[in-house]
């Protein structure tokens, strides 16, 4: 449905709201017949971040859900923004992906213009201004973490544009489970291994206690020296191996009676369709 009705208007880029009316009409007629309109794929996530002695650790699970069905068992939720800044995204999967890609491009342009490495506050500011402009219609909740010249920092940005700066943060549907682990065991200035274990446990709590999170734990360790992406750091949800044989031997159940009824079938038509098994 394009601009055929308004030929004299100057066309601009950006969002086009032409289909919202059609969608509203379709949704109302669908709901009358009892069907539901298709929803956006959400990540139904647990993401977490922590500031430790030398930097920042970001963690995320890897399940993407489509309402009640798992759409992707191993998706990536930790996105690159700058060489020293990474971002975890929760909420609607497409919104989080595109938002982080736009931020990454803007950061690169900004670095080229100013000739300086990016600051985490700059990313947070651009994110919150953009999300506020769209009044929460872009459903992306993000945790931005990085190490810049001012030190390690961690910010969370909500879909409507508010942000928090804290030493540990969780977002997503499994946030409550993960933050309970943090609240219990977080200490300022932890060592690297201790901090990695803590984030792993928080994400694992989200994986087991929240239906929208699952599969593996991804970690991203950002220090002044560099970034280490640990994809699949822990896989707590793999199927266990069966220890023994659980089938019954034939003859375990005694046969009491047996009746045989033959079906007289006549072959009417026979056709062969070769399967492509390459």
């Amino acid at each position: 449905m394009l601009h055929s009705a308004k030929p004299c208007e100057i066309q601009t880029g950006g969002f086009c709201f032409e289909n919202t009316r059609r969608n509203a009409v379709l949704e109302s007629s669908l709901s009358e017949s009892g069907y539901k309109a298709p929803g956006a794929r959400k990540t139904g996530t647990t993401i977490a971040g922590i500031v430790f002695k030398d930097g920042v650790i970001l963690g995320a699970d890897t399940r993407a859900t489509d309402d009640m069905v798992v759409a992707d068992k191993n998706c990536v939720k930790i996105h690159f923004i700058a060489p020293n800044i990474y971002c975890c995204g929760a909420g609607v999967a497409a919104d989080a992906d595109v938002t982080t890609q736009i931020m990454s491009s803007n950061v690169e342009l900004h670095m080229l213009n100013t000739g300086r490495p990016a600051l985490v506050t700059m990313v947070t500011r651009q994110l919150k201004q953009m999300l506020f402009r769209y009044q929460g219609q872009i459903g992306a909740s993000l945790i931005v973490g990085g190490v810049d010249v001012t030190g390690p920092q961690l910010y969370s940005v909500y879909p409507h544009g508010s942000y928090d700066k804290l030493p540990f943060l969780t977002m997503g549907s499994g946030a409550a489970a993960a933050v309970s682990v943090f609240e219990d065991r977080f200490k300022p200035n932890m060592e690297l291994e201790e901090a990695k274990q803590l984030v792993r446990e928080a994400i694992t709590a989200g994986i087991f206690c929240d239906l929208g999170s699952g599969s593996n734990v991804d970690l991203c360790v950002i220090t002044e020296a560099g970034v280490e992406m640990l994809r699949g750091y822990d896989k707590p949800a793999t199927k266990g191996k069966r220890e023994g044989q659980y089938r019954y031997k034939p003859g375990t159940t005694a046969v009491l009676t047996k009746t045989v009824t033959p079906f007289p079938l006549v072959v009417v038509d026979e056709s062969v369709q070769i399967m492509d098994t390459e």
Binding site: M1, L2, H3, S4, A5, K6, P7, C8, E9, Q11, T12, G13, G14, F15, C16, F17, E18, N19, T20, R21, R22, A24, V25, V98, I102, S105, N106, L109, H110, N113, M130, R133, Y134, Q135, Q137
Partner: protein, 166 residues
């Protein structure tokens, strides 16, 4: 045939009276006239052939749909650039005095005049540089790129509209 409620190129005027340098009164009436606070009203007669509603081109009909914006962001997105400019110019006016926004608006008007023919897509390079849009990427660069649009306006109609003959 439908038209925008406000005409072709907007006229930017800054209100001539102003208070003293230490006055606090903000003068934002300059850009008010061009704020489009309505959705373009589709004409009262249907647009298809023989006056029958053309569902293929303009979708399902309902009077309410044509008068009110259907999405909460529709109006704010339409006026976003104008609102930004308004805010920036009025704070510039308060900080540096009248000459600063005047000079900038003069440059904007000059840059806006560098255009191709109405039905062709102009790059607006000068305008983008003035606004600072050349240093950032947003949804207007990614989605719905006018250079990739499948429809082109009818050349004669657009030139007539631009010249005010229609």
């Amino acid at each position: 045939m439908c038209r925008n409620v406000n005409g072709t190129q907007p006229d930017i005027q800054v209100h001539p009276t102003e208070s003293g340098r230490n006055g606090i009164t903000m003068n934002t009436r300059g850009l008010r006239s061009q704020l489009k606070d309505s959705v373009p009203v589709a004409g009262l007669c249907p647009q298809g052939a023989y006056g029958v509603q053309d569902s293929l081109r303009s979708g399902f009909t309902s009077v309410k749909n044509e008068l009110l914006p259907s999405h909460p962001l529709e109006l704010s997105e339409k006026n976003f650039m104008l609102n930004q400019d308004k805010m920036n110019f009025s704070s510039l006016r308060n900080i540096q005095g009248l000459h600063a926004p005047l000079k900038l608006q003069m440059e904007y008007r000059a840059a806006r005049q560098i255009q191709r023919l109405p039905f062709l897509q102009s790059s607006n390079l000068a305008l983008d540089t003035l606004r600072g849009n050349d240093e950032s990427i947003g949804f207007e660069d990614i989605l719905n790129d006018p250079t990739q649009s499948e429809m082109m306006g009818e050349p004669h109609m657009m030139v007539e509209y631009k010249l005010g003959l229609m």
